[in-house]
């Protein structure tokens, strides 16, 4: 959803934003009751999910996500990098309405999952760029 910000200065229509111009949330900490971007850790435990009998390894994995003004909701089909790119594109089109992406994963690490299928076959699935190790917030 687009977040309208009336406090930002009005720009002329032809005044294209410079790519390096600071975004709305570049100055930290963010005031006006807004929560500054923070990186959080979420541990996904396969045993807590009740999958220990069919997921052989790992026991779980640590995922990182950003929460705050520059959050990128991680969905099933979009990763944080895609969100950052899209937000940057939308910011270039509507600089007054959408802040520049100021946070994106800078290091992604792979994870592998080993599990059984219906036919007792064992599958090793590798995800090359899955877990965000560091981000730019």
């Amino acid at each position: 959803a687009l977040r309208h910000n009336t406090q930002r200065r009005k720009k002329h229509k032809n005044d294209l934003p410079h790519p390096n111009r600071p975004g709305l949330f570049d100055q930290a900490p963010v005031s006006n009751g807004r929560q500054a971007c923070k990186k959080h850790e979420l541990y996904v435990s396969f045993s807590d999910l009740g999958w220990k009998d069919w997921v052989l390894a790992p026991p779980g994995y640590s995922a990182y996500y950003c929460d705050g003004e520059c959050d990128y909701p991680l969905g099933s089909c979009m990763n944080a990098t895609n969100h950052a790119l899209i937000q940057l594109v939308v910011h270039l089109i509507k600089p007054d309405e959408v802040p520049k992406a100021c946070c994106a994963p800078t290091k992604l690490s792979p994870i592998s999952v080993l599990f059984y299928d219906d036919n007792n076959n064992v599958i090793l699935k590798k995800h090359r760029n899955m877990v965000v190790k560091t981000c730019g917030c």
């Binding site: 999910l49 690490s109 699935k125």
Partner: protein, 263 residues
């Protein structure tokens, strides 16, 4: 950045979620990881067997490779340097295959036919694997048939055994089927360990035409072309220990131009 501030919070809050919310969260995690979900029927507790042990070795190797950064061709001992020296010929290509694979699948042996000591020569043993549950959008880069050789009594240790694996291409009634040689290895009779045969060509045929999957046939011969029974030379079959039963492992790589689902 405030890192790890909420560590453990979501972990514990998962227990407080309602049944429906838990299901939704589980579904989302499954979707992110590309997992199909809990196998059906619900699997009983399985004792350790050969394929899961091999896959665990592979998993640890892949995880170590990920920790050390991309491009590190670290392959576990059991994969790149199996006990039998003849297998070392597979080490280099397999190392690359493992590093580059996006999915690795092991297949359990479903059928085992045999012509053994009670029947006329040549002796052989057949194996069959069901390759139908395959990852979508991925292609086979390599496939191996792995069989364990134990030491047996009454054999000359220095004798060389020629073990060959064929793809059964066409079965004919009352006649021998059409066979195509896939791989052959020469092994000292006095050695024990895993043998890995390259069956990539056959697996590609089976993927393109699943109905053509008639399995593979294994022959053992001495240097003077004398046929021997697989069981007699110590090759472990379905009736052997679970940790030494034969299986097939296939390496897949995602297509370079993946089809993105419309959003």
């Amino acid at each position: 950045c405030v890192c790890g501030q909420m560590e453990g919070m979501v972990h514990s809050s998962f227990r407080r979620l309602s049944g429906r919310e838990k299901k939704e969260m589980q579904k989302e995690i499954l979707s992110i990881l590309g997992l199909p979900g809990r196998p059906r029927p619900h699997p009983p507790l399985r004792p350790p067997s050969s394929a899961p042990l091999f896959m665990l070795d592979l998993y640890h190797a892949v995880s170590a490779e990920g920790d050390e950064g991309p491009g590190v061709g670290f392959i576990p001992e059991s994969v790149s340097h199996p006990a039998l020296p003849t297998l070392s010929t597979h080490a280099a290509p397999l190392g690359t295959v493992v590093s580059e694979a996006d999915t690795v699948m092991s297949f359990v042996n479903l059928v085992e036919h045999e012509r053994d000591l009670l029947q006329p020569r040549p002796y052989w043993k057949e194996f069959r694997f069901d390759l139908t549950p395959l990852p979508q959008g991925e292609t086979v880069t390599a496939a191996e048939f792995r069989i364990y050789k134990t030491l047996t009594m009454g054999q000359r240790a220095n004798r060389t055994l020629h073990i060959s694996v064929y793809e059964i291409q066409r079965e004919k009634r009352y006649r021998e089927p059409e066979l195509v040689l896939l791989d052959m290895q020469s092994v000292p009779a006095g050695q024990e360990g895993w043998l890995a045969f390259d069956v990539t060509t056959a697996s590609n045929h089976w993927l393109l035409q699943p109905r053509s999957n008639l399995g593979i046939r294994l022959y053992v011969e001495t240097e003077d072309d004398r046929s021997l029974s697989a069981g007699w030379v110590g090759l472990v079959g379905r009736r052997g220990p679970r940790s030494k039963q034969p299986f097939m492992v296939t390496f897949f790589r995602a297509s370079q131009a993946p089809c993105r689902p419309p959003r």
